[in-house]
Symmetry: C2
Subunit: 426 residues, 2 copies
Amino acid sequence: MSVVKRHYELWGFTPIDTPVVERPEILSAKAGGEINKQVYGLRLLNPPEGSADDSKDLGIRFDLTVPLARHVAANQNKISFPFRRSQFGYVMRGERSKRGRYRNFIQYDIDTIGDGVLSFQNDAECIAAVINIFCELAFGRFRVHINNRKILMGWFETYEIISDSDQRQAMTYIDELEKVGRQEVISNLSRLGLNEEKAMELLTILTDDFPVDEMIEKLEQNPANNQKLLDGISELKKVVNSLRMMGASEEHFCVNLSIARGLDYYTSTVFETFLEDHKGVGSIASGGRYEDLAEYYTNKKLPGVGVSIGITRLVMKLIDAGIVDAKVNTIAPVLVTTQNLDKNQAFYLKTARMLRAAGIGVETYFQDAKLAKQMKFANKRGFRIALIANDEECEFGVVQMRDLKTGDQEKVELGDLVNHIRQILS
Amino acid sequence: MSVVKRHYELWGFTPIDTPVVERPEILSAKAGGEINKQVYGLRLLNPPEGSADDSKDLGIRFDLTVPLARHVAANQNKISFPFRRSQFGYVMRGERSKRGRYRNFIQYDIDTIGDGVLSFQNDAECIAAVINIFCELAFGRFRVHINNRKILMGWFETYEIISDSDQRQAMTYIDELEKVGRQEVISNLSRLGLNEEKAMELLTILTDDFPVDEMIEKLEQNPANNQKLLDGISELKKVVNSLRMMGASEEHFCVNLSIARGLDYYTSTVFETFLEDHKGVGSIASGGRYEDLAEYYTNKKLPGVGVSIGITRLVMKLIDAGIVDAKVNTIAPVLVTTQNLDKNQAFYLKTARMLRAAGIGVETYFQDAKLAKQMKFANKRGFRIALIANDEECEFGVVQMRDLKTGDQEKVELGDLVNHIRQILS
């Protein structure tokens, strides 16, 4: 999380926070597809008799982008655009929970919101930030798969999937490809009026896999000359062009026309990120561009583009893969052990206080326990240093300082203790 | 928040996180009093037809202590006790929301959990940490008001309020003193079987105000010789004694027998913290000791003590009082302004990339806008440095570096830019 935070800040995405609750009708309108069935609302468990339960007006955010739209619309006169913000927080979806897939999970987002217009360099920035983050985290080979929904819509039109609702449905079918497999997508697409042959043809186009420039060239040579498709290609080229100037190499991104995203609000660039050696993990960083997210709140056009990293899912998968360790050590490096606490309390508390004043974290052991038990606790909780003082040492103001990593122990006067500890810790 | 975080860490309270949802029956059992009517649960806004909505099993945490109990019980074999943890997160209560009082707010907690026993030094640690935090924050004069529920229960018994439910009710009445005033508390207490004279007498005892040692002395001289009361006094003395050894002075704490706390689970030490010059703000840091919080999850006795700082409420009040500023500046110090972006994009992106690689936060201005507009944006968003380069400068690899605080501007070659910027920022 600190790596993600640092990179977000390097690009100027400034942290804000918004409430967990939003208006239910907005959440329902913006969720779309599968997620629409997963939106939570509140209710009082024990409503007081006779008084109205106004919790029916409270929905729970399923992402951090819809709340951002409300925030920006409400504060549009105070905000200087383009507005880059980061946000870290819980969101909820009524999924069937399983390991790595929770109803309650943390997202860590960045978005840039423009006033009326927003350049496609901003799309590239989001992708470049993701690439920088996962390069530094070094979880293994990864690649951002980039698409543009206008390209999808263009192909849908070419294949006679015309109405807005049919196109949304087709988008959902394509999004499910990894989950349900080719045959089911083809059969689903057939429901929208295509025969099976055409559906297969469309899916083949959308799952073609070529190097970026070759892919774009092929798209430009398509005979249908559909305007949506041409717009999408032009936008995609701008994003790829800027992305390269930001230092990204094709080792870390590709064009993948089957990327659709499960949320209704995307209108242009969309992308997902996969660990090449752990495809089953699913996308670890997803995002895209949306033109009209704030339409419910304001007449002003506030286009945006952003990316969300699903921290909870990612961390669980990293723990499972043995890449990160779930053990919680103490955050303090020093344990003050105690003997004959009633008598020596003042000395132990003074020692701890002195170290804290010097910025050194300290726990004091307050239970009545033999020293051996306290040392076992010190090792188990991951302290670096244990301080030990018996009655006599307390009286004379000295402690035994034990380095739990090396096993070294030396007698130190209280006045020298801060320096000695700093030496070990540095 | 960074001050709170640093102090919590200095005392060895290690950060953990837990889910927002808990089992409804546990939340209801542990809330008590007013808060019980405010506990939220989940429901699906648009449940899918035919399938069961299992959200009835999901309640939303109203504090961070009840979830801690479940976490500790579930992981008791992995945890080394005493277990000091900090937690930062959203909680929800169905309150009537008003400025500074929200249904959705952030708490920042510490707790220490013992295995079977827990020394009263741990209570003192929580209070000492709070005192250190508010000393450093310097929001003005403040004082932690300390009590012990056994003292309250002892006095209740002395005044013939005997049954468990009557004592809980009396606790709630006392807790409401600030809100409803003396007369209403007296009339409420009368409902529990006291006549008005006795109720007034009891309230007078509980609202006596003396220096700490004098207060304890008076308590010890009480004629009733009630065991609960004696136990409470003995515990209170231990806490005060250790607190003083930790460096706290009576400038920052007092004994206040009318502190009861609104949550049912406290069994011993309780305390609240008030800004002396802003009593209307209410308690800004509250806590206490609980013996049986994990009883629903485990047969093991896991006593705990903790404190919660209500960040949201506190911050709103500080904004209102003009003590903190709600303005959101950019987190990046440098803005790369742009001219003729289509032509010069590569240069601007290279410059930004170089600075980020050196750990300097940068935003790039991607909209098509006159330089004057970009400089206005730079000032409004609080950038420290603006970089300016026209066609010729881009070609020759130099930029105009403007210090937006001093107004100084100088021409710098790209190779020297990192050093020049570091000089201004340091």
